[in-house]
């Protein structure tokens, strides 16, 4: 446990020492703000964070891999991975420490964006249920996307490769409903079960980029379902495990 926190604290400090944290936060606030405004500026708009959530999960497809791309690629480039792997650390402690750092950064951004909620309470009367379930869903969605990004970062010493592979996997999981819609029967259902949650129809004012059949739709509506939670936890666990395996495999090469 101590090693995990040592690594997490170091990575969080590195985030703030580089422009990365500030640039990504600014972009996150700008984009989610845009969607939030678009969703509540209607004359008969409902007082909800649906627009904000949609913007956030859409942007995280690119933001999460951008936050994690440095974490393991740079260790390999600088050769410091050799130091980590010859220190009395286990691979999962390295991976978990870095994951926690990236998640902490995302949480900070989410907390910064909570002034949208304040705005809702000042000018309207929002439903607290969907608000809380939406934020819970957003945190779990963030975990899953960060785990995918971290895995992509472990693959090579090139950060850009990490970004492209990470966003690629997340995009594939996002547009999977385009494919499943054109299939029928079990194949369609199985594929649809992997729908990550966002949709590329972000400018559609009805859906606002939350995929109807995806795992985020219920969270946005105020429903917390075990299937959705299990899905995000599984994606997170599987990709963190894969990351650990990639690091372990590095020893055997």
């Amino acid at each position: 446990m101590r090693f995990i926190s040592v690594i997490a604290i170091k990575e969080i400090r590195t985030y703030f020492a580089s422009p990365m944290a500030y640039v990504v936060s600014a972009a996150f606030l700008a984009i989610t703000g845009f969607f939030f405004v678009a969703s509540v500026s209607d004359a008969f708009a409902e007082a909800s964070i649906r627009g904000y959530l949609a913007g956030a999960i859409f942007f995280m497809i690119f933001m999460s891999p951008a936050l994690t791309m440095r974490l393991l690629a740079e260790e390999q480039k600088l050769g410091t991975l050799e130091l980590l792997l010859t220190s009395p650390l286990r691979e999962f402690e390295i991976v978990f420490g870095k994951f926690i750092a990236a998640f902490a950064m995302t949480l900070i951004m989410i907390i910064l964006s909570l002034y949208f909620v304040l705005v809702l309470f000042v000018y309207g009367d929002p439903d607290i249920g969907p608000l809380l379930s939406g934020l819970l869903g957003l945190s779990m969605y963030a975990c899953a996307t960060l785990a995918v990004g971290l895995f992509a970062s472990s693959l090579s010493s090139n950060q850009i490769v990490g970004l492209v592979v990470g966003s690629g996997i997340l995009t594939a999981l996002t547009i999977i409903d385009f494919v499943s819609a054109r299939l029928s029967g079990i194949a369609s259902e199985v594929l649809n079960a992997f729908q990550l949650g966002a949709s590329f129809s972000v400018f559609d004012l009805d859906s606002f980029g939350v995929a109807e059949g995806g795992h985020f739709a219920d969270f946005a509506r105020g429903i917390i379902s075990v299937t959705d939670i299990a899905y995000y936890i599984s994606i997170t666990a599987v990709f963190l495990l894969l990351t650990v395996l990639v690091l372990e495999a590095r020893r055997w090469r």
Binding site: L78, E82, P88
Partner: protein, 323 residues
Amino acid sequence: MIKIEHMSKSYGPYPAVIDVSFEVLKGEIVGFLGPNGAGKTTTMRVVTGFTPPTEGEVTVGGYDVVSHSLEVRRHIGYLPETVPLYLDMTVNDYLTYMGEIRGMNASWVQERLPKVIDMVKLGEYRNTLVGRLSKGYRQRTGIAQAILHEPDVLVMDEPTIGIDPIQVVETRELISNLGEEHTMLLSSHILPEVSAICKRVLVINDGRIVADDKPDDLSEKLQHAERIEISVRGAEAPEFINSMREISSVIDARSDLRASVVQRSEREDFSPFIVDAKPNVQASEQIAKSIIENGWGLTNLTPLPMTLEEIFLELTTEENLDE
């Protein structure tokens, strides 16, 4: 302290180290000598637990590097060939972090850090970003991280590569001093460096250990010829070479092609030569006498140590003769 028995390591189908066995006793400083690609780094990576051996058994302080990897790593300080540094951290932060990763608690780090910084003379740079340090100071930071957690065994891969000559001397001194308290395995491809620091040398070539000896004995055994660098004033090259060849103890003489163009053009009257002579027959004396008799000015006469490449040439040709 380090015990390697019949260790082999292959990367896929390519063998990097083949059936290597040796032991480093407690308090011993062993130099690991070999050309690039000989298997030095691979052997060190196995010893430090970075990569497991394909075959054979390796133990450090009695712990197996595969089954008790964490124990091994706790007892080792390692300086890899490319000094692994986080360029955006200060020296102090970097070393603190490395200490914590090695399992030191905060009070131990606080007590130990100033001592280590003094030892490697990084005092004035403790709050400088590592990325702003010169190569030599980065090397010191690397050494500091290796000794910070007071490891029993120090493994250093090419600790003086790529730093300027003055810093090389200082780094060597630092390493020699460290050798008084640690068991040390140090790799290099420069023989004089190893002779200066180590009491025992292992020569590795093509993944196999080809010699295991004291450094003096090693060069003596291999030195069939004594090589002398000579500069004379007022001598024409052919004339000088002929006069050298007349001396009975001289095997061959030639112009020194290593001398730089600048040196030649700036000081035309000095011609550098290389003379190979039979060992142990006081050839230098006879050469000096001959130069003076010819009325030339002797400005330099230096016996040259053999370079590792030459030792290798010797080792491999001898092996071929045996076959």
